[in-house]
Protein backbone atom coordinates (compact mmCIF):
# COMPACT_ATOMS: atom_id res chain seq x y z
CA UNK A 1 0.00 0.00 0.00
CA UNK A 2 1.42 3.34 -1.09
CA UNK A 3 1.00 6.66 0.65
CA UNK A 4 1.85 10.01 -0.93
CA UNK A 5 2.38 12.93 1.44
CA UNK A 6 2.26 16.27 -0.38
CA UNK A 7 3.54 19.16 1.73
CA UNK A 8 3.39 22.83 0.76
CA UNK A 9 4.90 25.07 3.40
CA UNK A 10 7.42 27.82 2.75
CA UNK A 11 9.36 27.07 5.95
CA UNK A 12 8.44 23.55 6.97
CA UNK A 13 11.10 22.92 9.59
CA UNK A 14 9.74 23.99 12.94
CA UNK A 15 6.27 24.70 11.54
CA UNK A 16 3.12 22.82 12.49
CA UNK A 17 2.72 21.74 8.86
CA UNK A 18 6.24 20.31 9.00
CA UNK A 19 5.38 18.47 12.22
CA UNK A 20 2.29 17.02 10.55
CA UNK A 21 4.36 15.84 7.59
CA UNK A 22 6.91 14.15 9.82
CA UNK A 23 4.09 12.54 11.79
CA UNK A 24 2.44 11.30 8.61
CA UNK A 25 5.64 9.70 7.31
CA UNK A 26 6.46 8.04 10.65
CA UNK A 27 2.92 6.85 11.35
CA UNK A 28 2.24 5.45 7.90
CA UNK A 29 5.63 3.75 7.69
CA UNK A 30 4.99 2.20 11.10
CA UNK A 31 1.68 0.97 9.70
CA UNK A 32 3.59 -0.83 6.94
CA UNK A 33 2.90 1.54 4.05
CA UNK A 34 5.41 2.64 1.44
CA UNK A 35 5.52 6.38 1.98
CA UNK A 36 6.76 9.08 -0.38
CA UNK A 37 7.04 12.68 0.85
CA UNK A 38 6.80 15.45 -1.72
CA UNK A 39 8.00 18.65 -0.08
CA UNK A 40 7.12 21.02 -2.92
CA UNK A 41 9.03 24.03 -1.61
CA UNK A 42 12.15 22.01 -0.80
CA UNK A 43 12.27 20.53 -4.28
CA UNK A 44 11.47 23.82 -6.03
CA UNK A 45 8.39 22.46 -7.79
CA UNK A 46 7.36 24.60 -10.77
CA UNK A 47 3.61 25.26 -10.44
CA UNK A 48 2.96 26.93 -13.79
CA UNK A 49 0.97 24.84 -16.28
CA UNK A 50 1.95 26.12 -19.71
CA UNK A 51 0.11 25.89 -23.01
CA UNK A 52 2.87 23.65 -24.33
CA UNK A 53 2.32 21.18 -21.50
CA UNK A 54 -1.46 21.47 -21.53
CA UNK A 55 -1.58 20.70 -25.24
CA UNK A 56 0.51 17.52 -25.01
CA UNK A 57 -1.23 14.43 -26.30
CA UNK A 58 -1.45 11.74 -23.63
CA UNK A 59 1.19 9.59 -25.30
CA UNK A 60 3.63 12.51 -25.35
CA UNK A 61 3.51 13.21 -21.62
CA UNK A 62 6.93 12.17 -20.36
CA UNK A 63 9.80 12.93 -18.01
CA UNK A 64 9.25 14.45 -14.58
CA UNK A 65 5.61 15.22 -15.31
CA UNK A 66 4.85 11.61 -16.20
CA UNK A 67 6.74 10.48 -13.09
CA UNK A 68 4.59 12.80 -10.97
CA UNK A 69 1.37 11.56 -12.55
CA UNK A 70 2.37 7.91 -12.17
CA UNK A 71 3.17 8.61 -8.53
CA UNK A 72 -0.41 9.80 -8.09
CA UNK A 73 -1.85 6.84 -9.99
CA UNK A 74 0.10 4.45 -7.74
CA UNK A 75 -1.15 6.05 -4.53
CA UNK A 76 -3.59 4.36 -2.18
CA UNK A 77 -3.65 7.08 0.48
CA UNK A 78 -3.05 10.77 -0.19
CA UNK A 79 -2.05 13.06 2.66
CA UNK A 80 -2.09 16.75 1.71
CA UNK A 81 -0.70 19.31 4.15
CA UNK A 82 -0.71 23.08 3.71
CA UNK A 83 -1.53 26.42 5.31
CA UNK A 84 -4.73 28.22 4.32
CA UNK A 85 -3.73 31.14 2.11
CA UNK A 86 -6.78 33.10 0.93
CA UNK A 87 -9.05 30.07 1.31
CA UNK A 88 -6.85 28.17 -1.12
CA UNK A 89 -3.58 26.24 -1.08
CA UNK A 90 -0.34 28.17 -1.66
CA UNK A 91 0.31 28.64 -5.39
CA UNK A 92 2.99 25.95 -5.43
CA UNK A 93 0.39 23.34 -4.44
CA UNK A 94 -2.35 24.84 -6.61
CA UNK A 95 0.02 24.31 -9.52
CA UNK A 96 0.73 20.72 -8.49
CA UNK A 97 -3.02 20.13 -8.84
CA UNK A 98 -3.14 22.02 -12.17
CA UNK A 99 -0.30 19.98 -13.65
CA UNK A 100 -0.34 16.55 -12.01
CA UNK A 101 -4.04 15.79 -11.51
CA UNK A 102 -4.16 15.68 -15.25
CA UNK A 103 -7.14 14.97 -17.47
CA UNK A 104 -6.77 11.72 -19.37
CA UNK A 105 -4.78 10.15 -16.54
CA UNK A 106 -6.62 10.91 -13.28
CA UNK A 107 -10.03 11.57 -14.82
CA UNK A 108 -11.45 11.63 -18.31
CA UNK A 109 -14.50 12.60 -20.27
CA UNK A 110 -15.78 9.92 -22.61
CA UNK A 111 -18.82 9.42 -24.80
CA UNK A 112 -20.27 7.47 -21.87
CA UNK A 113 -19.68 10.31 -19.42
CA UNK A 114 -16.95 11.21 -16.96
CA UNK A 115 -14.53 8.55 -15.76
CA UNK A 116 -12.89 8.84 -12.34
CA UNK A 117 -9.63 6.94 -12.44
CA UNK A 118 -8.70 6.98 -8.75
CA UNK A 119 -11.78 5.29 -7.35
CA UNK A 120 -11.23 3.40 -4.12
CA UNK A 121 -8.31 5.49 -2.94
CA UNK A 122 -8.40 7.50 0.30
CA UNK A 123 -7.32 11.01 1.21
CA UNK A 124 -6.51 13.06 4.25
CA UNK A 125 -6.16 16.83 4.07
CA UNK A 126 -4.53 18.70 6.93
CA UNK A 127 -4.81 22.47 6.72
CA UNK A 128 -3.60 25.09 9.17
CA UNK A 129 -4.82 28.61 9.66
CA UNK A 130 -4.69 31.58 11.97
CA UNK A 131 -8.36 32.44 11.50
CA UNK A 132 -10.40 30.80 14.28
CA UNK A 133 -12.38 27.78 13.08
CA UNK A 134 -15.84 29.28 13.71
CA UNK A 135 -15.00 32.39 11.65
CA UNK A 136 -13.46 30.26 8.90
CA UNK A 137 -16.68 28.26 8.66
CA UNK A 138 -19.37 30.88 9.33
CA UNK A 139 -17.88 34.01 7.76
CA UNK A 140 -15.46 32.66 5.18
CA UNK A 141 -17.54 29.64 4.16
CA UNK A 142 -14.60 27.27 4.75
CA UNK A 143 -13.71 27.11 1.04
CA UNK A 144 -11.00 24.49 1.47
CA UNK A 145 -13.55 21.91 2.62
CA UNK A 146 -15.42 22.12 -0.70
CA UNK A 147 -12.32 22.59 -2.85
CA UNK A 148 -10.50 19.50 -1.64
CA UNK A 149 -13.40 17.11 -1.06
CA UNK A 150 -15.88 18.04 -3.75
CA UNK A 151 -13.87 19.76 -6.47
CA UNK A 152 -10.52 17.96 -6.47
CA UNK A 153 -10.81 14.52 -4.90
CA UNK A 154 -14.39 13.71 -5.89
CA UNK A 155 -13.61 14.50 -9.54
CA UNK A 156 -10.96 11.78 -9.61
CA UNK A 157 -13.00 9.27 -7.60
CA UNK A 158 -11.58 9.70 -4.11
CA UNK A 159 -14.84 9.87 -2.17
CA UNK A 160 -13.19 8.83 1.10
CA UNK A 161 -11.59 12.17 2.00
CA UNK A 162 -11.30 13.51 5.54
CA UNK A 163 -10.02 16.97 6.32
CA UNK A 164 -8.94 18.47 9.60
CA UNK A 165 -8.36 22.21 9.82
CA UNK A 166 -6.08 23.13 12.69
CA UNK A 167 -6.93 26.65 13.81
CA UNK A 168 -6.00 29.03 15.10
CA UNK A 169 -2.35 28.00 15.08
CA UNK A 170 -1.15 31.45 16.14
CA UNK A 171 -3.46 31.44 19.19
CA UNK A 172 -2.87 27.80 20.14
CA UNK A 173 -1.06 26.56 23.22
CA UNK A 174 1.60 23.82 23.18
CA UNK A 175 -0.99 21.56 24.84
CA UNK A 176 -3.51 22.20 22.07
CA UNK A 177 -0.95 21.49 19.38
CA UNK A 178 0.05 18.25 21.11
CA UNK A 179 -3.62 17.25 21.16
CA UNK A 180 -3.94 18.17 17.47
CA UNK A 181 -1.01 15.89 16.61
CA UNK A 182 -2.74 13.07 18.51
CA UNK A 183 -5.92 13.69 16.48
CA UNK A 184 -3.88 13.65 13.28
CA UNK A 185 -2.15 10.42 14.27
CA UNK A 186 -5.45 8.70 15.03
CA UNK A 187 -6.79 9.65 11.62
CA UNK A 188 -3.61 8.51 9.86
CA UNK A 189 -3.76 5.14 11.58
CA UNK A 190 -7.46 4.74 10.78
CA UNK A 191 -6.96 5.50 7.08
CA UNK A 192 -3.88 3.30 6.76
CA UNK A 193 -6.01 0.21 7.36
Amino acid sequence: MNALVVLAHQNAEGSFCGALANLAVETLEAAGMNVVLRDLYAEGFNPVLTQEELALAKENVSGALLDDIEQVLATDLFVVIHPNWWGMPPAILKGWIDRVIRQGFCYAFTADGPVRKLEGRKAIVFTTGNTPQDIEVQINGDPLENLWKNIVFKTVGVDDCTRINFASVIMSSPEERAKWLEDAKSLLIEKSK
Copy 2:
Protein backbone atom coordinates in the same frame (compact mmCIF):
# COMPACT_ATOMS: atom_id res chain seq x y z
CA MET B 1 -8.48 57.02 -12.49
CA ASN B 2 -6.35 53.90 -12.80
CA ALA B 3 -7.45 50.47 -13.95
CA LEU B 4 -5.40 47.31 -13.49
CA VAL B 5 -6.28 44.37 -15.72
CA VAL B 6 -4.79 41.11 -14.44
CA LEU B 7 -4.95 38.30 -16.98
CA ALA B 8 -3.99 34.70 -16.32
CA HIS B 9 -4.43 32.52 -19.37
CA GLN B 10 -1.85 30.10 -20.71
CA ASN B 11 -2.65 30.90 -24.34
CA ALA B 12 -4.40 34.26 -24.32
CA GLU B 13 -4.29 35.06 -28.00
CA GLY B 14 -7.40 33.69 -29.63
CA SER B 15 -8.93 32.67 -26.28
CA PHE B 16 -12.09 34.14 -24.80
CA CYS B 17 -10.06 35.36 -21.80
CA GLY B 18 -7.75 37.15 -24.20
CA ALA B 19 -10.73 38.75 -25.94
CA LEU B 20 -12.04 39.91 -22.57
CA ALA B 21 -8.66 41.44 -21.70
CA ASN B 22 -8.48 43.30 -25.01
CA LEU B 23 -12.04 44.50 -24.51
CA ALA B 24 -11.27 45.70 -20.99
CA VAL B 25 -8.22 47.68 -22.11
CA GLU B 26 -10.05 49.28 -25.05
CA THR B 27 -13.24 50.03 -23.15
CA LEU B 28 -11.58 51.51 -20.08
CA GLU B 29 -9.13 53.59 -22.14
CA ALA B 30 -12.06 54.90 -24.17
CA ALA B 31 -13.68 55.82 -20.85
CA GLY B 32 -10.63 57.92 -20.02
CA MET B 33 -8.93 55.64 -17.53
CA ASN B 34 -5.20 54.92 -17.32
CA VAL B 35 -5.07 51.20 -17.96
CA VAL B 36 -2.29 48.76 -17.16
CA LEU B 37 -2.52 45.17 -18.42
CA ARG B 38 -0.65 42.51 -16.48
CA ASP B 39 -0.52 39.38 -18.63
CA LEU B 40 1.00 37.07 -16.03
CA TYR B 41 1.85 34.23 -18.42
CA ALA B 42 3.37 36.54 -21.02
CA GLU B 43 5.64 38.17 -18.47
CA GLY B 44 6.61 34.89 -16.78
CA PHE B 45 5.37 35.97 -13.35
CA ASN B 46 6.86 33.86 -10.52
CA PRO B 47 3.97 32.78 -8.30
CA VAL B 48 5.93 31.19 -5.44
CA LEU B 49 5.91 33.15 -2.18
CA THR B 50 9.09 32.14 -0.36
CA GLN B 51 9.92 32.31 3.32
CA GLU B 52 12.58 34.90 2.54
CA GLU B 53 10.01 37.17 0.92
CA LEU B 54 7.29 36.47 3.47
CA ALA B 55 9.62 37.38 6.33
CA LEU B 56 10.64 40.76 4.89
CA ALA B 57 9.90 43.70 7.14
CA LYS B 58 7.64 46.22 5.42
CA GLU B 59 10.44 48.72 4.96
CA ASN B 60 12.59 46.10 3.25
CA VAL B 61 10.07 45.23 0.55
CA SER B 62 11.61 46.58 -2.65
CA GLY B 63 12.23 46.04 -6.34
CA ALA B 64 9.70 44.33 -8.58
CA LEU B 65 7.61 43.18 -5.62
CA LEU B 66 7.23 46.72 -4.30
CA ASP B 67 6.39 47.93 -7.82
CA ASP B 68 3.66 45.28 -8.04
CA ILE B 69 2.23 46.22 -4.64
CA GLU B 70 2.30 49.95 -5.44
CA GLN B 71 0.50 49.18 -8.70
CA VAL B 72 -2.28 47.58 -6.67
CA LEU B 73 -2.39 50.44 -4.17
CA ALA B 74 -2.73 52.96 -7.04
CA THR B 75 -5.62 51.08 -8.63
CA ASP B 76 -9.19 52.38 -8.67
CA LEU B 77 -10.69 49.56 -10.71
CA PHE B 78 -9.41 45.99 -10.78
CA VAL B 79 -10.33 43.70 -13.65
CA VAL B 80 -9.32 40.08 -13.08
CA ILE B 81 -9.66 37.58 -15.92
CA HIS B 82 -8.94 33.85 -15.77
CA PRO B 83 -10.27 30.38 -16.53
CA ASN B 84 -11.73 28.29 -13.72
CA TRP B 85 -9.20 25.59 -12.87
CA TRP B 86 -10.41 23.36 -10.04
CA GLY B 87 -12.67 26.10 -8.68
CA MET B 88 -9.64 28.33 -8.27
CA PRO B 89 -7.48 30.59 -10.41
CA PRO B 90 -4.51 29.08 -12.26
CA ALA B 91 -1.48 28.84 -9.94
CA ILE B 92 0.21 31.80 -11.61
CA LEU B 93 -2.65 34.07 -10.48
CA LYS B 94 -3.02 32.38 -7.10
CA GLY B 95 0.61 33.29 -6.52
CA TRP B 96 0.04 36.89 -7.61
CA ILE B 97 -2.53 37.06 -4.79
CA ASP B 98 -0.17 35.32 -2.34
CA ARG B 99 2.68 37.72 -3.07
CA VAL B 100 1.18 41.06 -4.11
CA ILE B 101 -1.96 41.37 -1.95
CA ARG B 102 0.46 41.65 0.90
CA GLN B 103 -0.31 42.11 4.57
CA GLY B 104 0.88 45.47 5.86
CA PHE B 105 0.26 47.12 2.49
CA CYS B 106 -3.19 46.01 1.29
CA TYR B 107 -4.58 45.06 4.70
CA ALA B 108 -3.28 44.98 8.23
CA PHE B 109 -4.09 43.76 11.70
CA THR B 110 -3.73 46.39 14.41
CA ALA B 111 -4.57 46.64 18.10
CA ASP B 112 -7.81 48.30 17.00
CA GLY B 113 -8.71 45.45 14.66
CA PRO B 114 -8.26 44.74 10.96
CA VAL B 115 -7.58 47.60 8.55
CA ARG B 116 -8.65 47.33 4.92
CA LYS B 117 -6.41 49.58 2.87
CA LEU B 118 -8.20 49.49 -0.49
CA GLU B 119 -11.59 50.77 0.62
CA GLY B 120 -13.57 52.57 -2.05
CA ARG B 121 -11.99 50.75 -4.98
CA LYS B 122 -14.01 48.61 -7.40
CA ALA B 123 -13.43 45.21 -8.94
CA ILE B 124 -14.67 43.13 -11.82
CA VAL B 125 -13.88 39.44 -12.09
CA PHE B 126 -14.41 37.64 -15.38
CA THR B 127 -14.05 33.88 -15.20
CA THR B 128 -14.52 31.31 -17.93
CA GLY B 129 -15.36 27.66 -17.64
CA ASN B 130 -16.48 24.63 -19.55
CA THR B 131 -18.76 23.39 -16.77
CA PRO B 132 -22.31 24.66 -17.39
CA GLN B 133 -23.28 27.48 -15.03
CA ASP B 134 -26.06 25.58 -13.23
CA ILE B 135 -23.72 22.68 -12.42
CA GLU B 136 -20.98 25.08 -11.32
CA VAL B 137 -23.41 26.71 -8.89
CA GLN B 138 -25.52 23.78 -7.69
CA ILE B 139 -23.02 20.91 -7.67
CA ASN B 140 -19.66 22.65 -7.33
CA GLY B 141 -20.85 25.45 -5.05
CA ASP B 142 -19.36 28.11 -7.35
CA PRO B 143 -16.23 28.51 -5.21
CA LEU B 144 -14.82 31.41 -7.24
CA GLU B 145 -17.74 33.64 -6.25
CA ASN B 146 -16.85 33.36 -2.56
CA LEU B 147 -13.09 33.33 -3.07
CA TRP B 148 -12.91 36.56 -5.06
CA LYS B 149 -15.69 38.57 -3.43
CA ASN B 150 -15.59 37.48 0.17
CA ILE B 151 -12.10 36.12 0.78
CA VAL B 152 -9.85 38.29 -1.41
CA PHE B 153 -11.51 41.60 -2.23
CA LYS B 154 -13.55 42.05 0.96
CA THR B 155 -10.43 41.51 3.08
CA VAL B 156 -8.74 44.50 1.48
CA GLY B 157 -11.87 46.69 1.46
CA VAL B 158 -13.14 46.26 -2.09
CA ASP B 159 -16.81 45.64 -1.34
CA ASP B 160 -17.91 46.72 -4.83
CA CYS B 161 -16.97 43.55 -6.71
CA THR B 162 -18.99 42.10 -9.57
CA ARG B 163 -18.19 38.78 -11.16
CA ILE B 164 -19.46 37.27 -14.38
CA ASN B 165 -18.77 33.61 -15.08
CA PHE B 166 -18.93 32.83 -18.79
CA ALA B 167 -19.91 29.20 -19.18
CA SER B 168 -19.84 26.88 -20.87
CA VAL B 169 -17.26 28.31 -23.28
CA ILE B 170 -16.71 24.97 -25.01
CA MET B 171 -20.44 24.59 -25.71
CA SER B 172 -21.07 28.23 -26.65
CA SER B 173 -21.96 29.52 -30.10
CA PRO B 174 -20.28 32.53 -31.73
CA GLU B 175 -23.54 34.43 -31.12
CA GLU B 176 -23.46 33.64 -27.41
CA ARG B 177 -19.85 34.73 -27.13
CA ALA B 178 -20.64 37.99 -28.94
CA LYS B 179 -23.47 38.57 -26.45
CA TRP B 180 -21.12 37.78 -23.54
CA LEU B 181 -18.66 40.40 -24.78
CA GLU B 182 -21.51 42.92 -24.91
CA ASP B 183 -22.40 42.06 -21.30
CA ALA B 184 -18.77 42.46 -20.29
CA LYS B 185 -18.52 45.80 -22.06
CA SER B 186 -21.63 47.12 -20.33
CA LEU B 187 -20.21 46.17 -16.94
CA LEU B 188 -16.83 47.74 -17.74
CA ILE B 189 -18.49 51.00 -18.76
CA GLU B 190 -20.69 51.01 -15.67
CA LYS B 191 -17.74 50.46 -13.31
CA SER B 192 -15.53 53.02 -15.04
CA LYS B 193 -17.83 55.83 -13.92
